[in-house]
């Protein structure tokens, strides 16, 4: 049954039972850690979106006379060796890291859904070949290929999230395909075919709503791994290039001077960890909420 059907039948009944989504959101709201993650992320997005207006200093602002200073009333998180306000740099860095996280996830989402839906819906030999390709790609060391791509084609922003997106779609394709495959066998799909609906209409109206749950869950788990990957590359000096900052760049700078100016490492590290923490808890919470079977564990 599709979710829309579920909603309709249930709202008409007198039993007062909930629809899938209402039940899921109810379960999610009861999960304290997941909600904490949700609100933290919302706050983080709001700050990142409003950075140009919120940031206490201009991004390029240097104060060489001041140099590195510990957190103070003027500079809440301190300054780096060029006297740049760390809070400002962290806020701008969050924009970059979150943007890469979302853009690369979107790339992987588009490829994964297309690939998985086509394989699962058509089935048969095409499915076998398409999934074999996924299996083979799974076995390859992608970290190495991303580094290679960054080296060969230069360290551009666009390439960074394309490269990451191009390697992150595999699991998405698998999840989508499994889901499509199970929906495909349902009788109402046969009924839809009999009534003469076009395939794209069936996919759009009946298949898509059913794959939404697992896909949403997987998105919340892909974003942190993408953010991590970007930070990892930037840390090695192969990702975002200074003067642009991202969490990875800031952490890498922080490590260089952690003995003298530990706050330069601690605050960016903390921001990254809290973000990953929130996304993972929200993802776990969503998975439990949308799939009652796992909630018991």
């Amino acid at each position: 049954m599709t979710t829309t059907q579920l909603k309709n039948t249930h709202s008409n009944s007198d039993y007062g039972s909930y629809s899938l989504w209402r039940e899921a959101s109810y379960r999610l709201k009861k999960n304290t850690m997941a909600m904490l993650g949700f609100w933290t992320l919302l706050a983080l997005f709001a700050i990142a979106a409003c950075t140009p207006w919120l940031a206490p200093y201009a991004y390029e602002n240097q104060n060489l006379a001041l140099g590195a200073s510990p957190p103070s009333a003027q500079h809440l998180l301190g300054t780096d060796i060029h006297g740049r306000d760390l809070l400002t740099r962290l806020m701008y860095g969050s924009r970059v890291s979150l943007l890469v996280g979302f853009a690369a996830t979107a790339v992987s989402l588009v490829i994964g859904i297309l690939w998985g839906t086509i394989a699962g819906y058509i089935g048969g030999r095409i499915d076998a070949v398409m999934m074999r390709i996924v299996d083979i790609l799974y076995a390859l060391p992608f970290m190495i290929f991303i580094i290679l791509l960054m080296v060969v084609f230069g360290r551009s922003f666009l390439l960074l999230f394309l490269a990451i997106g191009l390697v992150e779609w595999l699991t998405m394709a698998r999840i989508v395909r499994a889901q499509v495959l199970s929906v495909r066998k349902q009788e109402y799909i046969d009924a839809a075919i009999v009534t003469g609906l076009a395939h794209w209409q069936i996919i759009y109206r009946h298949v898509m709503p059913n794959i939404l749950g697992p896909v949403i869950v997987y998105i919340t788990l892909t974003i942190p791994s993408v953010i991590l990957l970007e930070s990892f590359l930037s840390f090695l000096g192969l990702g975002i290039q200074p003067p642009q900052s991202s969490w990875g760049v800031l952490i890498s700078r922080g490590v260089e001077s952690m003995e003298e100016y530990p706050w330069l490492l601690i605050f960016p590290g903390l921001t990254l960890s809290i973000t990953l923490f929130s996304l993972n808890f929200l993802g776990d919470g969503l998975r439990d909420a949308l799939d009652p079977r796992t909630a018991k564990n």
Binding site: A139, I144, F153, L236, G248, I251, E259, L265, N280, N297
Partner: protein, 307 residues
Amino acid sequence: MLKFFAARLFQAIPVLFVVITATFFLVHSAPGGPFDAEKTLPAEVLDNLNARYNLDDPLYKQYLSYMGNLVQGDFGPSFRYSNRSVTEMILTGLPITFELALYAMLIALIIGVSAGIVASIKPNTAQDYIPMSLAMAGICMPSFLMGPLLVLIFGISLDWLPVSGWGYAPGDKILPAITLGTGYAAYIARLTRGGMIEVLGQDYIRTAKAKGLPTPTIIYRHALRGGLAPVLAFLGPAFAGLLAGSFVVETIFQIPGLGRFYVQAAFNRDYTMILGTTILLSTLIVVFNILSDILTVWLNPRLTLKD
């Protein structure tokens, strides 16, 4: 079993061939050559260098000769370090990276499996929440953050352990192994917990309990074999991840392993070194994935090997 292994290995060969070919042409299409140093070399010197490494040959000829040498186990000379061959460098770097990955894996397994078992015995109690929250923290603490923090605490503040090198001073292998292992310990803890909870709900465990067996016996004799299946399936990808993760750890702790060579080669545009390490790591990872598939099936007779 042997047939399955042979079939998988046979299947891996075309994959590796494609990988090698793609990497070769990708690297050679890169703008900028290996000799674009800070100081520009005179034209004659550059010509000589290009001639020596056959860089003036047409690309297909370079490709063929590279493949020919590769089949004989020769990865060619390093462009950057003129007196060393890539094979030589790989042979010095690989055992170090392997040793590091092995220690990290041991740490990850010991911590991960014990934490997962502890958590699975009493799910949804403090005994579950505490180790699992720590596991989540471990997952959210990337190695490039964990490493420097460990160095700051144990290396600099407490001055207990050396902060760099590999085998130069006693104890210098501890921090890198912990840094690399913790993230995987966290994943393994979660996998163990999930697998164990599922197995502990089975009928034969209830039978064992009804017989009056003590909990440790039930866990070790009956539950672990099934409960660890997800962990075993993860071992191959985990080892692959450990090898790839060694980039960061080797850079932080200045360990002369393969990962550090790779990152340096990437910066230096050392074509042959990049190619060599990519090929080697891909091969290793493909082999480990096959091995972990086999291990999974071997431990679970209900699954059969299909090629």
